[in-house]
Amino acid sequence: MGAEFVALSLPPIVIGVLVAIACALPGNFLLLRGQALIGDAISHVVLPGIVVAFLLTGLVATGPMLLGAAGAAVIAVVAIDAVRRLGRIESGAAMGVIFTAMFAGGVLLLEQSDTSNVHLDVEHALYGNLESLIWLDATGWASLTDPVALAGLPVELPRMALALVVIGLFLWLFWRPLALSTFDEGFARGLGIRTGPLGLALVIMSAIAAVAAFDAVGSIIVIAMFICPPAAARMMTNRLGHQVAWSVLFAALAAVLGYVLAGYGPLWIGASDSVSAAGMIATVSGIILGVAAVAGPHRTRNG
């Protein structure tokens, strides 16, 4: 424990927790609005965005990739809406058409272009590489107060923290109009709240969470964190504030427990190698949801 833990396990755990909370926060509202699968769609279309950004700039740099991913997310949301309106197709099917086509395009571009010398492949996009985000400059707990060592933190950590702050700020500022428009859109509009732009802003916040998280942890954990912690929290309470608090707790719990189980679990049962942390975090969040669905005090529709 000590030095090794701070250098190898602490940064991934902290990043995992930040990702989980950043996704779970907007996930609460998406869930209540019946848009839970938007997170699914966004995290699939991030891949073509990143591939196009790479092909245009020729380098694996954070800035262009984030821009590309965010652009793809916006294009996907607009395209889904366009197909829904123009073709008079229900939104689930419209979503299915657009995100699969964009994902297929991304995979094809990736296979066609020469990316053999850079770290960019489909598997990485799906389940990321949380374990590789280590902090080489750390020598022990004391490094946490050492500015020189802190400068060597994985870049994903401050980026994720920034995304979380932006999302938290958005929810804090627009809490009342968001809550109103989520539960009674007509009433909210009657009060003069512009529900259209507000809904789009929520989707953009979700996209920010998905895009910032994607690079570190892959899309599977993003989808799980958008849905599972809020869904489990929904079984615990009828109050929105409490639900958001529960979802943050569940998200953090899933991230920590999942990482520990993936990193140390196999060692405890005698195996030598660890398993995918992203996959394990998603699994743990599913177990939490399962427990809440069986035993949560407000699990049924009428209570």
């Binding site: 299915g96 389940y127 996959g279 394990m280």
Partner: protein, 400 residues
Amino acid sequence: MLADALLLQLGYNATLVAIGACLLGIASGVAGTFLFLRKRALVSDAISHATLPGVGLAFVIMVAMGGEGRSLLGLLLGAGVSAAIGLLCVQWLTRRTRLGEDAAIGAVLSVFFGFGVVMLTVIQTMNAGRQAGLESFLLGSTAGMLRGDAILLAASAAAVLALVLILRRPLALAAFDPGYAEATGWSLPRIDLAMMGIVLVVTVVGLKVVGLILIVALLIVPAVTARFWTERADHVVIIAGIVGGLSGFVGAAVSATAPALPTGPIVVLVGFGIFLFSLLFSPRRGVLASVLTHLRYQRRVHVRQGLLALAQGQPIYETLTQRLLTRAGLILPDGVPTAEGQAAASKALLDETRWAIVRGDQAYALAATRYDGLTPIETVLTPDQLIEIDTKISAPEVVA
């Protein structure tokens, strides 16, 4: 090369795969139509992602029993079992808890997929697992397929297509008119169960061809595309089958021509191309048709309003109206009506006057509902009625 592939000249295995993909496409197009019409299209996304842990566990079990672990049949059986469990979880979460179906789908697909990824990393650490190639189930890969696997693929695709054709009547009934289906003695839950069963089999068979991430497209895209071309229930099913079959066949054939062309994405993009064409150019519901209809309507309104202005001697300032009237030879470029224009203008004014009387008279209440400012009155009323109305017009109208 491409022509060879499309004409099935690339060897026995590639031909089997192409035919299998075509049959699979037809089956998934037809099954997907029922799913789409029951508004449950994305349930298939949960089903397909839920296959991954089954594939992994089946591999581990087969290795533990001393086998090589790569038997396609065994892997697909495992996929089927875990997909069925995933489907049950979706149903249970939707029925027994307060979660909506979309949240249940998202939860199941992410958690099962996450657990599947854990299984994959476990397999990578096993000695037998290094070349397992289970990743090919993510995106589909038919390159270098063994003969036995190709035969299995083609045969099971044919079997699932036969199953869909046998069950098409109850499925169509439940999709288009659930109330009538129940009233005539069908059990709706049982039909839904059969539908989900078929979707599950399509998904599992499609794993090797299209991959679990994209198989959902093969179920949704053909159905959505077919809806653009017809309003008739039986035709939607047939067209969806054709679109699905075409995507499967062309996708598999194109992908066989080069190693860097993975099957799944190509199949999906071919289908999406057909969808895009339909969205833009379908004669009744397409974007182009809507735009043309709108423009035609706009022109009729402008001409009509221009003629009424002429009839009342008012000048026309609106440029589009001027242009349309000039082009039709109704006015001269300086805005003076031609003889033809005067005739058309007085006709329009007479029409409008007659409509005004019809709309003011209770006796014509039904006819008055047809008024939209464009419909000529003689298409609504008989000549006798028109004569009666004309007697109520106070003074003859004079065109300036």
